[in-house]
Structure formats: C-alpha cells, structure tokens
C-alpha cells in the first residue's frame, strides 16, 4: 500500500501509448502500484487559469483519497499532474489557503498529504541505472537520441528540488544510456514546447516546438525522447505545423522514454503503443534491428 498510481487524464485518452508502455516497463522491473480509485483531473490549465484554489482543490481531492488509503507516495507519469499535485501539497501548508480549499471540498482534507513523484524518478531512485542495464535484453544499439523533459518535469526549482539540477536534469539520460542508447546532451531539454497554447495560439506553439525540433535535428539524432504527454503531442502530432513555422521539413520520431526502455527490455512492440506515434518510428526500429542483427553475427 505504499505507492499509489495516479494516471492523469491524458493517460486515459491522448497518451494511452505512454500509459501502456509505462505499465509494461514497471511490470518488467517489478515495480507495483496500487491504483487510485475514483480519481479526477489534477486541476491543470483550465482550472489553474481560473483559480488557484480550484486547481488545488482538484489535486487535494486525489491526494486526500491516497492519504486515506495510507499511501506513502503518489506516482504519476505526467509532469503536469506532478507539478499540480506537488504545488497543491505545498500551498496547503498555509492555513488560510487550506481553509479556502477545504471549503471548496466541503470537508476538511487530511492533515498529512502524501508527496507525488514522477514514475521516472521512482524508477531511477528505486532501481538505478545498474539494475536497469541488467534488465536489458535488446540494447538500443546504434540509436542516437536526445532527451527532452519539457518545462515542468524539473521545475519550478523549489518544488522539484529532489530531481537534480532544474536546468540540466540527467535522470532520463542515465536510464537511456543504461538501455544502450547513445544519448547526446540536448541543450533545450527543459525549454517550453508551447504546451496548451496549441489550441488558442497555434503559431506560438509551432514556433516553440519548431525551435526544439530544429535544434534536435541539427544534432543528427535518430529520435527525440519525451516524458510528457502534451510535449509529445506538440512535437509529434504537430510536427508538420512546426516545420511550416520554421520553413523546414522535419521527420523526427518522438518516443516516450518508457517506449524506448520497453524496447530495450524486449517487451513486444505491440505492448508499447508504437502504432500511436504520428511520425513513423519505422526508420528508427529498422536501424535498431539491423544493429542488433549485426551484433548477433559478430
């Protein structure tokens, strides 16, 4: 009963491939979660753009259920959920704020709310790169990739202080290197992709995502690896829009880090949701499989 899993709305919709691959990787590592029953939205953009208390109330309701289950920690794959759940817990330290949130919830929430962690941080801290490397069956040979965290995974600095340097986190790099990939240092790893502006201000998101894709492509990588459902969508689904904004044509597959880890763990590709990627991962898969075959011949 120690870690309770909070999937977040995207997992149940647009990022079902992230959800599938996260579950598969955690299963393969032996990490078990208790599902959070009757969960609701974490209070992301629509809520926190309206009212801080409303956003916090939505998050606190989830944390409160987890607290009553006796959870020590909450795990979520989504950086936006992570940020909202952590911020809500932090803000609840102020009695006046807590009072206003409790009023919205119609009842007093638990005095002690559990802390939330990204699934990535939990994998890294519980197993470490050595154990992950030990688990690899089909190393990501011949693949040159760049890690992209998005703006929320490591920031704001005071909320995410336990994740490494807020401007230059290294957790995803360590995990993927353990999986055998060649990981380049991506300078824009924490830059904003444009996030939910993709709907009201499409051009803005196209520009921001375009910058990221352009720099990544200039580095001569095979794939970009993301950890956030919204970032992945902006970089993958909207890659053509971004290309148009930059006057370029991009063809850069954007994986979730869990998909890459799952590949290395030898999990069946169909269980990783690769068919959901918009920019075809085929060239990457072919390159990888060829490299693996070469390794066998050696």
């Amino acid at each position: 009963m120690s870690i309770v899993y909070y999937p977040g709305c995207s997992a149940a919709g647009t990022s079902s491939d992230y959800e599938k691959s996260t579950q598969a990787v955690c299963d393969a590592l032996g990490m078990s979660f208790t599902p959070l029953p009757d969960w609701n939205c974490c209070g992301s953009t629509p809520a926190h753009a309206t009212s801080t208390e409303l956003s916090a109330a939505l998050s606190v309701r989830n944390l409160d259920i987890a607290a009553k289950m006796g959870a020590e920690k909450v795990a979520t794959p989504c950086p936006s959920c992570l940020s909202n759940l952590r911020l809500a817990k932090k803000r609840m330290e102020k009695p006046e704020f807590r009072a206003r949130v409790d009023e919205l919830l119609d009842e007093a929430s638990s005095a002690e709310l559990p802390q939330t962690y990204s699934v990535m941080q939990l994998i890294y801290e519980k197993y470490g790169s050595e154990f992950v490397a030990h688990r690899v069956q089909r190393p990501l040979k011949g693949l040159k990739v760049a890690c992209y965290y998005g703006c929320l995974m490591s920031r704001p600095a005071d909320i995410m202080a336990d994740f490494g340097h807020p401007e230059n986190p290294q957790v995803m790099e360590s995990l993927l290197r353990a999986c055998g990939a060649e990981v380049v240092e991506f300078p824009l790893k924490t830059e904003c992709c444009g996030a939910s502006h993709g709907i009201p201000e499409r051009q803005l998101t196209a520009n921001l995502s375009g910058k990221i894709l352009e720099t990544a492509q200039n580095m001569g990588i095979d794939a970009l690896v993301a950890a956030c459902p919204l970032c992945q969508m902006n970089l993958d689904l909207r890659q053509k829009q971004a290309g148009k904004a930059m006057g370029k044509e991009f063809a850069l597959p954007v994986f979730y880090y869990t998909q890459m880890m799952g590949m290395a763990f030898g999990i069946k590709l169909s269980a990783l949701g690769l068919n959901k990627l918009v920019v075809s991962p085929e060239p990457v898969l072919k390159k990888w499989q060829a490299a693996l075959k070469e390794g066998v011949c050696e």
Binding site: E167, P187, T215
Partner: protein, 653 residues
Amino acid sequence: MRIGVFICHCGSNIGGTVDCAKVAALAATFPDVVYATDPMYTCAEPGQAAIEEAIKNYQLDGVVVASCSPRMHEPTFRRTVERAGLNRYMFEMANIREHVSWIGKDIEANTNKAAELVKMAVAKLRNNKALHAASFDVNKKVLVIGGGVAGIQAALDCAEGGIPVVLVEREATIGGKMAKLDKTFPTVDCSACILGPKMVDVAQSPNITTYAYSEIESISGYVGNFTVTIRKKTTYVDWSKCTGCGACTEKCPSKKTPDAFNEVTGLTTAITIAFPQAIPKKAVINAQHCKKLLTGKCGVCAKTCPTGAINYEMKDELVTETVGAIVAATGYDLVDWTQYEQYGGGRYPDVITSLQYERLLSASGPTGGHIVRPSDGKEPKNVVFIQCVGSRDRSIGRPYCSGFCCMYTAKQAVLTKDHMPDSQSYVFYMDIRANGKLYDEFQRRAVEEYGTEYIRGRVSKIYPDGKGHLIVKGADTLLGQAVEVEADLVVLAVGVEAAKGAARLAEKLRISYDSYGFFMESHVKLKPVETNTAGVYLAGVCQGVKDIPASVAQGSAAAAKVLSLFSKDKLQSDPQISQVDIKRCIACGKCVQTCPFGAIELFDFRGQQKARVIETVCQGCGLCTATCPQGAIQLAHFTDNQILAEVDALCQC
C-alpha cells in the same frame, strides 16, 4: 553613592514610543539616584554639557545614560564623565532605543521595560569600581595582507609616512585583479600603465618588504604588538639569485600548462614569470606540470638558468615578523558561474567570463590583444554580454549587486567596437548602475556612439545551434517580448564574492565576516575602515564590493588610520580584563586551556602553582571566568557581583 540618570528622547526615536519623563521620575526613586532628567538629545553638545554640570552641581560619582546602543556612544559619554572628573568606568548605559523604542509600539510596555533596563544599569553602577588603563609600547611597523591596488596604496602611503611595511601577497606577483585588466573605465586608460608605476614604487621603496607567493600562517598578539608567521610557499627558484631574465621560460618543454594569470585563456610553461611587468619579477615552477618534479626527468631550466637559481629540493619556509597594525586587503574572487546550467555550466568554450575577456583584449594577453573565439580561433562578429551572472540572484545565495559590472561591461562593449569595427555588441542587463563620477556619461557613450544594443532582461538559455553559433535566448522586458540573439562569443559579467580562504584569514585576524565572506567593518557608515579588533583595518573589496577608485581611497584611508595609531608612542590597554584571585585558584589549568588568546599562564607563587593573566594579551572575552570551577577569575567591569546585581534588580521589578 550619588548617581545621576539621563533618559534621552533621541528626538522622537525614543520619545515617540517611551514616556521618557515617566522613566526619569521612576529612576529618581531607585537606590542612590539623586538626580534624574530626560534631555532631548543627550549626545549633542548641550546634552553632554548638562551631564558635566549635573556631576558638579549634585556631586555625582556615577552616571547612567539611557539612550541608544553603547556601540556608538559609550565612548562618547565615558569621555564626558571623564571631563567632569569621574573615572570613565563609573558610567553605565541602558539601550532603550534598539532594545525598546524601535522594536515595540506599546507605550506603556515600552516605558516599563525602559525603566527596568535603567534599574539594572543603576544596580550595576552601584557595584562598579574605578579602573585604570595601563600603557604599553607600540611596534611602529605595519603588515599589509594582499598586494592588489588597495593593498599597494595602503603600503605606499604608510611607507611614505615613514612606517616600515611588510606586504604579503599570495600570488607570485603583486598587482591583484587590476593587473589583469586591459583598460579601466571611465577613462579607458591602460590598466597596466597606471598600476605599473605604483608596483615599481613598492619594489623600490626602502620601507616596504614584500613577501610574494606567501600566505599568512598565524597571527598572535594585540594592537601595537602582533606577531605574524608568514609561509613562503615553495617556488623551486631561489629568488635571491633569480634575475627575472626569463631564459628558463623559453626553454621549458612543458608548454601546455594552464595560464592562471591569463585566467586559463591560454597556455604557458611550467616555469613562468606571471607577466612582463611582474613585481617581483621572479620565476616560479608550477609543480603540477613540471616534468622534473613529476617524473624526475628534465632539469632543462636548471641547465638554462645563468645564475643557478633553480632548486628542485626547495621546501616551504616560515618567517616571523612583528608589527603593530595590520591592513587586510585580500580582494575578491569570481562566483563559480558553472552552476548556471542554463548557460551551459562551463561546457561551451565560447561562453567566457569578463575577466577572461580582459585577457583577450590585453596586448600582453595570450592572443596579443586580438579577440578570437576559444573554440576555433576565429574573430567573432556578434558578441553578447550578460550582466548579473551570480549577482542579485537569490536562487544561488548571492542577493547583492557586484557594483562594477555595469561599467566594465560598457567599457568592454566600447573596446570590442574599437578592436573590431564590424562587430556588434549586445548587453542583457537588469538595471544600469552607473553612479560614479563620469560613469553614466561613459555608459551612454557605449550606447550612443558605439551602437551597443542594450536589452533590458534576463537570459534564460544559451545553447549551440549546431552550426557554430550560440543562441542567446532571453526576454526584452521593455518590449514585453522574447528575444533571441545569434552570438559568436558570449561574455558573462560574473559576480564577485570574497577571496578564497577569506573566512580562514578572518579567523586568524579575529575579525568578523558576513555570510558571503566579506570582512565586517566596525560601523557600516561611520567606521568603514576599522574592524572590531583594535589595530586591524580593511581596504578594498575584502570589506565589500567596490571599484578601483573606491579601493584606492580605502587603501589610503587604512594607511591614515595606521599613521594616526602610530602617532602615539604608547597605547592604553583596556582594563576590562580578567583577574585571578590567587586565594581561590587551585591551578587546575582549565582557564589556560580555554583562553583563545593564550593570555593565561601558570606560575610559581611561594611554592604553589597559580594562574596569572597576561594583561596586554587578555581581550576580556570572559571565557575563563565561565570555565573556572572555583570562581577564582573575575572579569573587571563584568564581575559576578555586578551581573548578579543586575539580575536582582530585574527580578525585583
């Protein structure tokens, strides 16, 4: 005893939240008080005259003033009572400003507390005894620690005043940071050309003994009589033989030694002379890069040296000097900017510090004054300057402004245009702080005559675009827009912090330092040169950020303090020191062990061991009095009886 009490209004500072007249009326009822009043400004001339008059008219033999912190005015009022014929220790001060009126608004509570503090002061005064200072000789010789421009100025001014000076410098040459600068603002005159002659004056002054490549090992003693041990670090070159000809540096085969004087913008040899105008102009071997010292095979410099000065067996040497005063002028170092991962954390070769840029601009630098990119040796076109890197940034614990970066950045932008007329400079800034003489005019020239683009905003990211440029991404807060500049070279105006090892030196000097390592002055406004340790003075950035003119001014100010101290042949010791009651002393020796100043010794008294205080060494800290299991040591003016009398008075309130 006949005591007079003065409850100061301090204008409205105290009078605004304390009923001073009521406190005076209450004070008049305290034991032995024969006179009490509440003047408006007690420290002013009429206020002091009123105290003197009251002493005469009422035959007072003790005075209490309730006013501000004793830090500032205790010496003032001690002189006042002395003028009226009392012993200066028959005076007590109650702090009813910092401890009462400034921190509470409730007039009734404040008035009660003020009365209680006055009652304590009266109780203590009733137990006071006249104390008399002893006098002792002054060793009229000064130690200056640090040979940057502030230390040089202090040394030269003292030497000019006829005082022998011992100048200790950590590096192989004096000159400090200023010697590394190309030009200086706001006149753009050559730094080496204006500092060089001063350095030569130091070398030529018969009154100055310079220990370069040396550090302070330990300091003992007190004002007028310090003993200083200096560690002369191993140079592997006998400086009494070295003529500074430089033949060794031409022949040394270890040509890939990082050049510390050039801020690692270039390479040098393992045996070096820091720069052509170095003082002293002597060679030093860098042991980490010398083939002979690392592998035992080489010895080229020893073969080359025409005077046989090379000595691979050399060891550190300790020398002792005795001085009467000390000037600390240890300067600064740059904040470790590589913690800024968003600026590449030190991974991008074309992101450099402004001190490194000075070396690139300098004709005696590694490129002969030609500006080139460290990555490919090409001349840059777009140069981006970023200010406040490690200054005014609470997120890295450096909330203060480094003071001179706005100005040297403007200077560097001007010089960039002079060196490369086709170049374009951009400056990201928070605010322009140009508040010195001719400073704002100079900064405007950088904008108006040299076409420097000033962008008000912070930089969020520097990254390589993969095509040989750096993209500098930031905000223009005046336009409310995100901006990106394609840069060939980025220069960071890295903030200032106290010199490495400043805290350790402060402990040796027994002076305070702030949370950033800067040495604490005695009073931030009125005693910016003195420290709380008598005979120790400050000059330059070691006390707080300042530019060259201010550092020079403080160097001269420190010298003036030393000269005025040395104008007396004898100094008076503070009689507030420990005294041993030998009847009670059991010679357990705990006080000897506890004393941080080595001021207590055991001696033979009629065949028995007893402790004894060395009067001139004791600083009156009171540690021994708290340690003595027999209560045999009392601190004069803070005896157990005096303190218990205060406690009694408070408990009876």
